[in-house]
Amino acid sequence: MPASRSVQRRDESPFFGFFVSLAFAAAGRRCFAVAACLVSIGLLLKLFKPHATSSLDIVL
């Protein structure tokens, strides 16, 4: 995979997205919290594609 593409995808991004969503919720901003959460779910699904076969490369 080209290095430029691997830089764009970060496995930690959904966690930070969900954390931002919780921060918006704590601040009482429901719409922003829901939006951040939906973006994070989208990121989670996007990250599934490059990892769909990762278990096949595990040394067992």
Binding site: R30, D57, V59
Partner: protein, 204 residues
Amino acid sequence: MNPHTPNTQTSPGLLTPELSRLLNALGLLAVGAVLLVAFYDQFVGGELPCPLCILQRAGFVGVGVGLALNLKFGPRASHYAIAMLSAIAGGVGEARQVLLHIVPGTGTFGAPFLGMHFYSWALLLFIVIVAGCAVLLLFDWQFEPAPRVHGLGGLALLAFGLIALLALGNGVSTVLECAGGLCPDDPAGYLLLEGEPPAPPPTP
């Protein structure tokens, strides 16, 4: 009166907004417990999460966010939808991992826990979460006419704080393990702390 507006003058029904928020707090604590077990296995058991396991954790955090929104803003169908969508997103990865390992001779990842591997438990829990949210959605009386911001205290504050800490903790842990990129298929250490592992010697 709008027939779709709950009538607060009559019986409040089986599941009141307060009881619903309590159940959501307990569910959030249960999700937090799942993530704590995963952390325990990582830091005490020494088993680094595989890439699909990380996505599974993210799915659980997303479920927790949906439940946390119910705590803060009161029960809403959209919050349950977020929890269910997160469980489905996490479950897709777990179903894939179970199917990869179900083939005879492909081995497993990690040690079993109570007879099943973590990814099998995760798939089962995601199914339970989707079913549980669907059951909770059956009780219309829990939904308040308009969203309101609740103050968090006691159990709700504990559950909300726990899931926020776990979201941040998992993010930091993943940065350390994957050095801010895509995680390696077979993680051997924390890339950000230890650097890239040496390349395997060429096979003759």
